[in-house]
Amino acid sequence: MHFEYQIEGGNFTRAGFASSEIKKMMKQLNVDMGVIKRTVVSTYEAEVNVVAHAFSGTIYVDLDEEKIVIQLQDQGPGIPDIDQAMKEGFSTASSAVREMGFGAGMGLPNIKRNADDFQITSEVNKGTNVKITMFFNK
């Protein structure tokens, strides 16, 4: 199965819509609740990152019997130093983002902790790609 969702940079009211749809779909497929939680927590932090830090993005979801692969591809400023961005506490978030309850530099480390496989690549002034893979039976 393949699904796509659009993300609008700066639109905090809608942030989480795609993660919510993914959660509903996984519940319908009777995926283990623990796996669902780790998947949607990761996807939601990644979705919020696109809203908070980029201009626009697309989420590509691919699902088969054994795994779900979620790719978030955005157009935005990119990340100049990924090792630094991955550090707990590092954040360039605006005060508006912090008022939303994010921007403490905890998103990327939390995604890494929850995902079975996590890949991030980025090009400055172009955008960022995040890939989250979750396996159903482990």
Partner: protein
């Protein structure tokens, strides 16, 4: 404690989930930082927050949080209410501060997450 007992203790209004007053809560977590809430691995944790926005409800949805208390007299919007109903999240509004809500619940046997 049940949601009913919590609402009586805190003189709080049940805004959503009136039908689930008997739902039992044993643990709570207080934060305005949603990234913090998203690191919790426990389920059935009640969230106490002063942050009244859509992201508080989205966070509850993703983190399997069954109930939220909006402290400091924060009111929720119609849009937030719709999202809470859609996701079966119990919402309470309370005029007390986050500190007071947390202290009262702690004194009545609600456990911290850590």
């Amino acid at each position: 404690m049940t949601i009913k007992q919590i609402s009586e203790l805190l003189e709080a209004t049940i805004v959503c989930g009136e039908d689930r007053k008997e739902h039992k809560i044993e643990m709570a977590f207080a934060s305005d930082l949603m990234s913090d809430v998203l690191t919790l691995s426990d389920n059935n944790v009640m969230l106490i927050t002063g942050l009244s926005n859509m992201q508080a409800l989205r966070t509850a949805e993703m983190a399997e949080i069954p109930a939220i208390i909006f402290a400091r007299n924060k009111k929720i919007s119609e849009e937030m209410k719709e999202l809470a109903i859609e996701n079966d999240i119990i919402v309470l509004e309370c005029r007390f501060s986050v500190f007071k809500v947390s202290g009262m619940l702690f004194n009545n046997g609600i456990s911290p997450v850590f």
